[in-house]
Symmetry: C2
Subunit: 78 residues, 2 copies
Amino acid sequence: MTEKAIFYHAGCAVCVDAEQRFAAALDSSRYDVEVVDLGEAKDRIVEAERAGVTSVPAMVIGGGVYHINHGADLSALG
Amino acid sequence: MTEKAIFYHAGCAVCVDAEQRFAAALDSSRYDVEVVDLGEAKDRIVEAERAGVTSVPAMVIGGGVYHINHGADLSALG
């Protein structure tokens, strides 16, 4: 059974690098990784905020929020 | 063939959480993850600094540095 992981980004260079390096590095037999571009899917910004995301790129796994480096604040994407 | 990844931490709560959630989540068939506690292995602080690590927890993969959340500045560990 896989656990859901959501990788939020906004298309920035820092985001793309983290996505390629990190989201792609998770064990796909254990994690179902969804990649969400908040620059395009603005309707999901509220969902990300509720999960505790304050900046992108960020990964949400099992209720925990992991901000990986810093590309852009969520408030700049609204 | 596996790629080397080094997870630097300092035993803090933020570090332990990131280690359990992240370092353990990498695909072990593709990544050889070494976990380094800079609180104990102070002789490796210089190595971490040279790699670009400024705070822990952080992961170094393929020359890229990924600071995951923020536990402690490296300068506080010296």
